[in-house]
């Protein structure tokens, strides 16, 4: 089959489009013909390499995958060939305390598609049957692949971790990112007052259309200064961020007493200064999130079906153009999701 893979870590030129062996499903696995695969910032990290990340080469990237079931292992029951499915990207042991508590993303053996096991930048992918969710015919492939990473992570950040309540103030960094645009919609749904940041007025206008009420162009204004002005110096109850060092200290200063900062990434650096006195005197909470439990995907899929949220698709590119997709994401040129589509799908 055709796939985009890496044979070593490095720059965009390490992405190769070419032929790799077709995956063969094990007893409990499903073979899915990929119809769409979302591109995420995590794909860039895996390509560049991360400490403690050991992957087999050639390694196929891609975390957000939807497609049709084309083959099943002998132990798989009740899943017909041709079923449209959305894939949950998290693989866990299914037996430990965390898994049994509905927190499979806290499993010690947790693995992610496209990070620890081969992903969806390919014509086909194999996956355990517990990771596929039937996808209603009314949901388009490109929309569906906006859910597993961006919306699920945003759900975990905004609802489960920050426990956002109606009427609270929330600052969502990078309103144009996958996480940001999802978080804006979820915060809006929950009745919060939303402030967001982006690097251009064009992106901010789109963020406004998704539900952000207050907009900050961070290239032109210091966001801390703006947040204080917008909230009449009160500060915000929640900050949603995945930028890291560049915004870290000012994000903490944006928080009202008892405020919560939720982070799921660090695109600008991961070793910020953390002044503990500020953290305890102001009763702040700093909360880390990766992914979300499988149950969350069911919930966001329902919201999508009901038209309560809409994943923002920036553009659909042929799988062969994966390098261009990485380039666009690295340059922060996109608002919303880049989606890859294998040829003939």
């Amino acid at each position: 089959m055709k796939a985009v893979y890496i044979t070593e870590h490095g720059g965009i030129d390490k992405l190769t489009y070419g032929e790799v062996p077709d995956p063969v499903p094990d007893a409990n696995e499903v073979l899915v013909r990929v119809r769409a695969c979302g591109v995420n910032y995590i794909d860039l990290w895996v390509r560049r390499g991360l400490p403690f990340l050991r992957i087999p080469y050639p390694f196929v990237l891609g975390q957000e995958v939807a497609g049709e079931v084309v083959a099943v292992g002998p132990a798989v029951k009740g899943l017909a060939l041709g079923t449209r499915v959305l894939i949950h990207p998290g693989l866990s042991c299914g037996r430990c305390e965390a898994c049994a508590s509905g927190r499979d993303h806290h499993c010690e053996d947790y693995q992610l598609l496209g990070k620890n096991v081969p992903g969806g930048y390919a014509d086909f992918i194999k996956i355990p049957d517990t990771n596929v969710l039937p996808l209603p015919a009314s949901v388009a492939w490109e929309a569906a692949v906006g859910l597993p990473n961006s919306f699920c992570t945003a759900w975990n950040m905004v609802y489960e971790t920050a426990k956002l309540q109606p009427g609270e103030w929330i600052l969502i960094h990078a309103g144009g990112s996958g996480i940001g645009s999802a978080a804006i919609q979820l915060a809006k749904l929950a009745g919060a007052n939303i402030i967001t940041t982006a690097s251009s007025d064009d992106k901010l206008a789109r963020a406004q259309a998704l539900g952000a009420q207050h907009l900050i162009n961070y290239k032109e204004h210091d966001f801390l200064h703006r947040v204080r002005r917008i909230t009449n110096r009160r500060g915000v109850d929640v900050v949603i961020e995945h930028i890291g060092e560049d915004v870290w200290e000012r994000s903490l200063l944006c928080l009202a007493r008892g405020g919560r900062l939720v982070t799921c990434g660090a695109t600008s650096g991961y070793l910020p200064k953390l002044n503990l006195r500020y953290v305890f005197f102001r009763n702040l909470q700093i909360l880390g999130v990766t992914s979300a439990s499988k149950g969350v995907l069911c919930k966001v899929l329902t919201l999508l079906e009901q038209g309560q949220i809409r994943p923002v698709v920036n553009r659909v590119l042929p799988l062969a153009d994966a390098r261009q997709a990485h380039q666009l994401l690295e340059e922060r040129q996109v608002f919303g999701k880049l989606v890859l589509r294998p040829e003939g799908s």
Partner: protein, 344 residues
């Protein structure tokens, strides 16, 4: 009245013992004759000074944990009367903002604590708002009662409000001999958790065992991270309770299970902590800062004391004028539990 007070920030010699004017209760204020006052680590910060923290006017009288008798009341006071035995709820707030009205008065922008921003109990007399007076309606020695407010309220908020500790969870409580540590061990045990604690001597650890700790780590003799891994069979703990800071910070994060919670209420070893955000989000850790607690916590703690479910941990009693010695003992980590000052 006699009092121990500061005329400026400084070392132990900045604590002066002498005569200050008697406070006069106005409006809704209550004058209390101090029978005992607990010493907290925060008193050392008040003495030494921190940015944006502590007294802005001198002379300043430290002392947050106060018990005594009401000796006079302002004209608008209705809920207490002269002669009542009381404990002081240390947080003073505006009482009108959304935080105060939501039971989170310790988040109030105007929040001040008795002994920190306001005059405290290193004195024969102290005046506090009526809202801060809690009846001590059961039999307990003054010296024991003075061990309670700050350490038990803080431990309560850290365990049950911030970490939301559940029965059967593993918890690591640093510094068993500290006020917060010795309170947290008892509260965690009461909440059905499996308790690991650390201290700098075996003698302190034996006392921690008597309070309910299941597993003991002498941090002078072994690395606590390795010990926690061994005790939990490499699983890690669900919750860490810390007020050491820098010295233990990175290892604390490594002690936690995925989704684990670290709660901090202070630092004795440095506050610019290195935190690898990748570890934070990949392991989905939760870090919470905690300062004291809302007023409601003291009522919960008093219920538990009255029912005999938790015990005040008294290290020693000193006369008020020995406050410098009390500070020295805390600085050198010599105590197990609370050092209490008693005015003549």
């Amino acid at each position: 009245m006699k009092a121990v007070y500061l005329t400026k920030h400084g070392g132990i010699d900045a604590l002066k013992f002498g005569e200050l004017p008697d406070p006069v209760p106005e409006g809704r204020e209550v004058l209390i004759r101090v029978r005992a006052c607990g010493v907290n680590y925060v008193d050392l910060w008040v003495r030494g000074g921190l940015p944006f923290f502590g007294p802005t006017r001198f002379p300043h009288i430290p002392g947050t944990d106060i018990v005594g008798e009401v000796v006079a009341v302002g004209p608008a006071v209705h809920s207490t009367a002269v002669g009542a035995r009381v404990m002081v709820n240390p947080g003073v707030s505006c009482g009108r903002c959304p935080f105060c009205l939501s039971g989170e008065d310790n988040y109030c922008p105007q929040y001040q604590a008795v002994g920190i921003g306001l005059h405290g109990g290193y004195a024969q007399l102290v005046k506090v708002p009526e809202a801060n007076v809690v009846p001590l309606a059961f039999d307990m020695a003054w010296e024991a009662a003075a061990c309670v407010p700050a350490s038990f309220m803080t431990a309560w908020a850290m365990l049950f409000e911030k970490a939301r500790l559940q029965p059967g969870e593993w918890i690591l409580i640093h510094a068993a001999g500290s006020g917060v540590g010795s309170a947290a061990i008892q509260l965690a045990r009461l909440g059905g958790a499996i308790v690991i604690t650390t201290a700098g001597s075996d003698e302190k650890l034996e006392k921690a065992r008597a309070l309910g700790a299941h597993y003991l780590i002498n941090y002078m003799q072994q690395d606590f991270l390795r010990a926690v891994r061994r005790i939990t069979h490499r699983r890690g703990v669900d919750v860490v309770i810390d007020h050491i800071g820098l010295e233990v910070w990175e290892r604390n994060l490594l002690c936690l299970v995925p989704g684990g919670r670290l709660v901090t209420c202070g630092v004795t070893s440095g506050y610019e902590a290195k935190t690898d955000l990748r570890h934070l989000f990949y392991r989905q850790l939760q870090l919470s800062g905690n300062k004291l607690a809302g007023k409601a916590a003291l009522f919960r703690v008093i219920n538990l004391l009255q029912a005999g479910k938790v015990q005040p941990v008294l290290d020693r009693v000193l006369p008020l004028q020995e406050a410098p010695l009390a500070h020295k003992i805390l600085e050198e980590r010599r105590q197990f539990g609370k050092v209490v000052l008693v005015p003549e």
